[in-house]
Amino acid sequence: MKRNAINHFISTVLLMLTAHFSYGQYHISGTVKNDAGEPVPLASIKLSQRNEGTKTDTAGFFDLTTSAKEKIILTVTSVGYKLFKKELIPGDSTAHLDIVLLSNINTLGAVTISAGSFEASDKAKGASLTAIDALTVAGSNHDITLALRSLPGAQQIGEQEGLFVRGGTGAETKQYIDGTLLKSPNYPGVPGIQQGARVSPLLFSGILFSTGGYSALYGQALSSALILESIDMPPKSSAYFVAYLANIGGGLQKLAHDGRSSYGFNISYSDQTFYNTLVPQQPSYFAGPKYLQGDANFRIKSGKAGMLKFYTNWSSSEVGMLNPDIDSASLRSSYHVKGVSSYNNLSYRNLLSENWKVDIGMAYSYNEVNTLYKVLNQQSQPVILTAEPLMYSSSQSDIKSDFAQARIVFTRFLSRNQAIRFGAEHFYSRDHGMSNDSTIALTDNLTAAFAEGDIYLSDNLAVKAGLRLENSSVLHQLVVAPRASLAYRLNGNGQFNLAYGIFYQEPENDLLYHTSGLTFSKATHYILNYTRKANNRFFRVEAYYKRYDDLVKIGPVTNNSGNGYAKGAELFFRDKRSVKNLDYWITYTYLDTKRDYLYYPYELRPSFATPHTATAAIKKSFPDINSFVNISYAFATGRPYYDFLYNQPGNTTRIADQGITKPYNVVNLQIAHLTSLFSNWKDKPISGFSIGVNNLLGTNQVFGYNYSYNGNNKLPINLPARRYFSAGIFFNFGIDRTQDVLDNNL
């Protein structure tokens, strides 16, 4: 017994001695996983009070040695997880830990900046707009720019196509498809009558309508950029056919069996002659209006993330109309325009590596417009007038435009959804032709380089800062445009956004044909807004100030001495929740703007802007009877109009008369109903009909006035007919395009 005790005593002492001699190295190793059992790589392991730490590897393993002797605290951190802490007492030579991190459910997601823009994308959540929401507003006639007029910021301009945003002209808004410019979005202009869009809006899955402060990746638009993204791949193969009062069309879309490529084409033909016999129009048409349009596309996926897309669109149009001549009661004024256009867009994107992405875009478009103004007598024979000023009533022009663009953008992804983008693009454009008896020739090469960063200063504060350089060959000028925007997210679904930017734009081509020495026009934007999105409702209020400089003035000398300002505030509220199957939004726009440009003798309120505009878009579905009703309403106060007398003494312009038109007040209605023909077919086709009336109440809209040369005769510019009716049927084969079909026909 005694021997055992002594042995025991000796081994204990030996143990204590050896422990003392092991130089105090404490070894910690283990794994870090999340509560779904997945390893967490690159988790940060730190020992408090000591400058020691390590990171877990891709399997979540870590290994750490410390010479600490006293109690230490081990902390583990990783983005998206709650902090893990464990107290350790160095004693045993190794410790093995299996650490589980609890996730920090980020119920908020990344902050996205939205100053000066409305995004309508297929990834939209809750009450944020989708592309289809924007396009199915009653009265939009398949033209995106008309659909977007139901959003705040755009003016209700009934006699011209385009988007007139916050005191800017339609030419100050540019449209981009997959990064490249859509040079002529609409058919050739006809005085006083809105012309339709060439590209079908159903091509798009994403629409970013920027009313100011847009990204450094885009330029050459003083007021607004409409940034469109085309659909990547159709969900299935399908074919459709539509027949309306004034147009017919059809198309086919085929998706490969492996879902990695698709091709398709669409054709549509519109001739209003028959419709015009049913519904009398103010102008007397001797040709058309007729429009023929065809487009084709193919899309190919490459590798894991690559995508090649090609789109081509070809169209031709003809409109010939007769109106009473404003200067002479016995004469009639004839306008005849023919247009041919082709637009081609090739885009490619791919991941170059885990952190790098490239986007390449190329576009080529050709546009030919043939215009003829004539004055006819009672026997419909052309009259050649030689006396001033009537000799200017006859004119002829034939202008061909070529446009090509190439663009490349690199994106470097950083941690936590941050990124840096940079790239360059080149625009080539060439106009040539004849205008009256003089030759037109204009060639311009514009090069731009840009860079932009998306940085998160904190979980709730995002900043986008960029710079754009533009160089124009025809202007011989290089400009630098800074852009910056910021978003600060508040607790409880609200967010403040701020944007600032400088935007340059070349003067319009018709000004450049005969004048040299012009420079870029410039606009500076300051925007502040507050948005709140929750419970399928979306509230937004925005205020802005725009300063225009170097606008083109035509006078004794044509130069860039014009300027202007625009300021205002806008409200938008959308509710998809309060009433079942009802989706509505209401907007209000206040605009105060003046500019001194072109022929204006001094700073004036331009004729395309009005102080107050209010719109409402309402959509109600009746699922039990498969029907849909869409209503849109727009109200705007009157627009200014002027009688300018040109060529006054000293080569100036004088205002002989001016006024404000009566307010604009239009209700549009569209109804669609789905039927179920051929329901015994295997792939039941979707079919139905839709009817619509624009300006349902038949109110008389006056957009402005035209004056005769001596100012005695003043004719209002109205809609060509009080109301516009549309009625038609649609068939779709292939279950997937259902929503498409509804939207195409609403």
């Binding site: 509560d35 609890l102 679904n493 399928n536 498969n626 179920s676």
Partner: protein, 220 residues
């Protein structure tokens, strides 16, 4: 001899600790499952999800707590059906928890369990449709339907499958195959199946509240 006594005591002690731990675990699961029967609001489900996640990590190889944690997320998704902005994080989390539960099941043998899990997968995909029905519906609606069909194949007498079928038939427009009369029949069938279901420990037994709520809609 002394050594023998000491080592035996030590062994007995360690067994006791293990047994104690196990019964702690299953009593924790049982109590959380009981609380689940009373859960109504998003807050209730969020708190329960945390409890189930903790139990899942402690038990490591039991599919049930992962199933329940996924079910909590799916329920939150359904409570947020008119709040499309808030749904996505819960759908995503529910999906990853359900995937983990699936990895712990023997998919060939545990058919009843897999049927319950596929029902939850169906709910999670339907919750994604609530984000924005017009754009997310065409993609996730069919996936939700497919999961439910699989669940039905594995266990045609699963009352929870019958409930989800009733829910789909009630909430789908007629044009796309909805049928309110059929929905009523299915909900009634689900209640009957629930009554005949033997109580089976902590296995899923929800459905009564949901069926009753759906059938009440017909009273108006």
């Amino acid at each position: 001899m002394k050594k023998l006594i000491i080592s035996t005591l030590m062994a007995a002690l360690s067994v006791c600790t293990v047994v104690a731990q196990q019964s702690n675990n299953s009593s924790a699961l049982a109590s959380s499952v009981k609380k689940l029967d009373q859960a109504k609001t998003v807050k209730d489900y969020q708190a329960l999800e945390k409890e189930f996640s903790g139990i899942a990590v402690a038990q490591k190889t039991n599919w049930l707590p992962y199933y329940y944690a996924a079910f909590c997320n799916a329920s939150i998704g359904f409570l947020y059906q008119d709040n499309g902005e808030s749904v996505e994080p819960f759908s995503n989390r529910g999906e990853s928890l359900a995937q983990k539960a699936k990895s712990l099941l023997d998919t060939a043998k545990q058919k009843k369990e897999l049927s319950e899990l596929y029902t939850v997968f169906s709910m999670i995909n339907q919750s994604r449709v609530f984000i924005n029905p017009m754009t997310y519906g065409p993609k996730y609606g069919p996936i939700a339907q497919q999961y439910l069909n699989k669940a039905k194949q594995l266990n045609p007498d699963n009352p929870r499958v019958a409930f989800m079928e009733a829910w789909f038939k009630y909430n789908t427009p007629k044009m796309w195959g909805g049928d309110k009369d059929l929905a009523k029949q299915l909900a009634t069938k689900s209640l009957k199946l629930l009554q005949n279901e033997p109580s089976n420990g902590e296995m899923p037994h929800w459905g009564q509240t949901e069926d009753t709520e759906l059938l009440n809609k017909y009273k108006n």
